[in-house]
Amino acid sequence: MATIVEAPPVAPAAPSSRGGLWGWLTSVDHKKIGIMYGISAFVFFVLGGIEALVIRWQLAVPDGTLVNEEVYNQLFTMHGTTMVFLFVMPVSAAFGNYFMPIMIGARDVAFPRMNALSFWIFISGGIFISSSFFLGGFPDGAWVGYSPLSTQSEVIRMDFWAIGLLILGVASLLGAVNFITTIFTMRAPGMTLFRMPVFVWMQLVVAFLLAFSLPLVTVGLFQVILDRNFGTLFYDAATGGDPILWQHLFWLFGHPEVYILILPAMGIVSEVLPTFSRKPLFGYQFVVFAGAAIGFLGFGVWAHHMFTSGLGPVAETAFGLMTMTIAVPTGIKIFNWVGTMWGGNISFTTPMLFSVGFVAMFTIGGLSGVTHSIVPADTQQHDSYYVVAHFHYVLFGGAVFGVFAGVYYWFGKVFGRMLDETIGKWHYWLMFIGFNLTFAPMHFLGLNGMPRRIATYGDGLGWNYWNFMATVGSFVIALSILVFLYNAVRSYRSGELAGPDPWDGRTLEWTTSSPPADYNFAEVPVVEAIDDFWYKKYGEDEDHLPVRLDTNPLDPSASAPQEEFHVHLPSPSYYPILLAVGIVTLAYGFLWLPVGYLVMAAGLGIMLWAIFGWAMEDIDHPMGDNGHGEGHADDGGGDDAEAELVGTSSEGAE
């Protein structure tokens, strides 16, 4: 008879022993940074959602009068910018930060202070863009910022947009470098690349996509800023400049960006489906290689956003074919997810519901995406509500459903208490119905000729009914988000205790306490298989059915108080937040030259102070004493010392 020593659920402690506001502001702990990413992303999600609700209210009936055209332009610009750059990207950074290191058996990322810097630059950039509301109005050139809308308007709104995106780009680039380095160099013993959870693989692909695509839009954004402020002629058609160049640079970034948004959600779903089907992921290597293939092909399809800009038949054919090709790896993934569920012992928990919803909704969005690869059809659909329907099916039905699958799956791990399942199912069904009610009609509206980005429409065009239904749907979505927020607050306070392994999970994060100790693992795990934790819990009988083994593969920290283990961790640092403040001060100064030169000088001063302090900082203050501090004693500064700290302690635990 197989019995198992179950660790009693430990009441959740504060996520870190160093609490308080100062503790959060100076934290370099990847888990705290992940939580901060997640919460700020949700704040921006609510802001972007309110913008969407105003848009839908305006469009509910013909000749809407809630807002005028000027405000409407600002609303859809900021809705897109906020949802893409300030919600989906940071929320996947949140999951990546919190779980990627734990899933590969590391105690932190490779460069903890740089990780904090990424977050603080992200939040400064987000506040910078959003603050335009109080300083002359939101940007109004659409989230794609096509020239001349971005370059020839006199007000500073699009400066806010361009500079804000530059700042956010720095944050993402630092994060990408950090993640690539962490995944390549910090894996636990035995955690070979092809034993990594698919979520980690997808984070790796995303990091490469960011590293290779961000610099392209950076160049474009600099050109917009130079055109607007220094009289350069990059996008001035009258003197030989070419606005189409912006479209190329933007979409060379923008299409990989689409995969940057969706791949982390695909990674989450690839973790959730096996757990609740109680089966390994079907075709692990196919899923991994399909993800990598999507990453590669994603750089070769950008011009399908530009089929109506006059590329010529050769380019249009080539990009049309490439776009059809990219459906292949995506299809592979969908079949693998279905194959994972096939014959599984499925339990329809809330994360599972969101994952199944993801697969279904993403498939619809993927199919309408394939219709865009057919150039003549795309010419009809271009800039119509059909496109809006398509990308909301992949980004809301895909990315957002995936994100909520992750939230319900991992909430207990992060906060120690489970989200309520009953309320969660209410949330899911409301969101599922509201989502389809909002966006499915947009297919019809688009095919009936309704263009996107119009502030209002006339009566008698045949668009009234579905527009009204879409507005009803959007408020159902809003209601579902309220249900979620209620669930989150309620469960955080008094939810059921999670314990280390509430879902009978497969990956390393479930071996740790909930929430994990500051150092994640008291003993660095040694990995022997894909889904290592599962195979340490279960063997097989002669019919290949899982049989629980008489072992306790949990990390020792899961059943003992944190203080019993002394693991050396990097010290907190306030230089990351200081550097971010310097950068954003510099950016604000730039907007109000010449007075702003003073502000810019202040910003530069703060930056220099932060960089100098960073380089010289003595990061060798052990949090508690420990037996293995020798590997880093002589370093005066620099991130490798931090990395060594983590590396050294893992050696000590082997």
Partner: protein
């Protein structure tokens, strides 16, 4: 445990980070060079490449920058031998050669402006100044890092155990040099 593979594959943490950053930089300069190639003939009535470029002069400053890669290698070699005197000498020579290059660029820019090519003269001018300007900024950052290294070397000595700093600066510096070889070929030699 028998399965305790080395999972890092022997990669150095800081070098992995620097290489991925440089890969990103490659795309940055790729986009800048592409912009220049698109706009090279769009002079908007202003001077064109053939009227402006002084190939012998730019060849000399390119040679200076290439030699700085040699001194950087010598600095790296001295660092590996833990020879602080030689290290300082070659770090400062590299920074000095970088400054000479920047001086040449400053002279070149002021000459071009004098001859009628400004940022706002033509798309050709905008893209030329943006590309070479960003390259110059990268050289300037490199000079700052080299100077910081030299100061550290005077103050505390840069031993091998003191992190990867010299090697990282060297990677960056060589990258900036290689980019210049491409710029010199594509922007200067192929346009006249």
């Amino acid at each position: 445990m028998a399965v305790a593979h080395t999972t890092s594959g022997g990669l150095d943490i800081r070098k992995t980070a620097m290489w991925s950053f440089l890969a990103s930089e490659l795309m940055f300069f790729g986009a800048l060079i592409s912009t220049f190639l698109l706009y090279r003939g769009r002079t908007n009535g202003g001077p064109d490449a053939e009227e402006l470029f002084d190939i012998p002069f730019t060849s000399v400053s390119s040679f200076v920058l290439l030699m700085s890669s040699l001194t950087m290698v010598l600095a790296h070699n001295a660092w590996e031998r833990n020879d602080q005197r030689q290290l300082r000498l070659w770090l400062l020579s590299t920074a000095g050669l970088g400054l000479v290059f920047l001086g040449g660029q400053f002279y070149e820019f002021s000459t071009f402006v004098h001859e009628g090519l400004k940022l706002d003269t033509s798309p050709f001018g905008s893209s030329f100044y943006m590309l070479t300007g960003f390259h110059g900024a990268h050289v300037a950052v490199g000079v700052l890092m080299l100077s910081a290294m030299s100061i550290l070397s005077f103050r505390v000595g840069l031993t091998k155990s003191r992190g990867m700093n010299v090697e990282l600066v060297a990677l960056y510096w060589h990258f900036v040099d290689i980019v210049w070889i491409v710029i010199f070929t594509v922007v200067y030699l192929l346009q006249v």
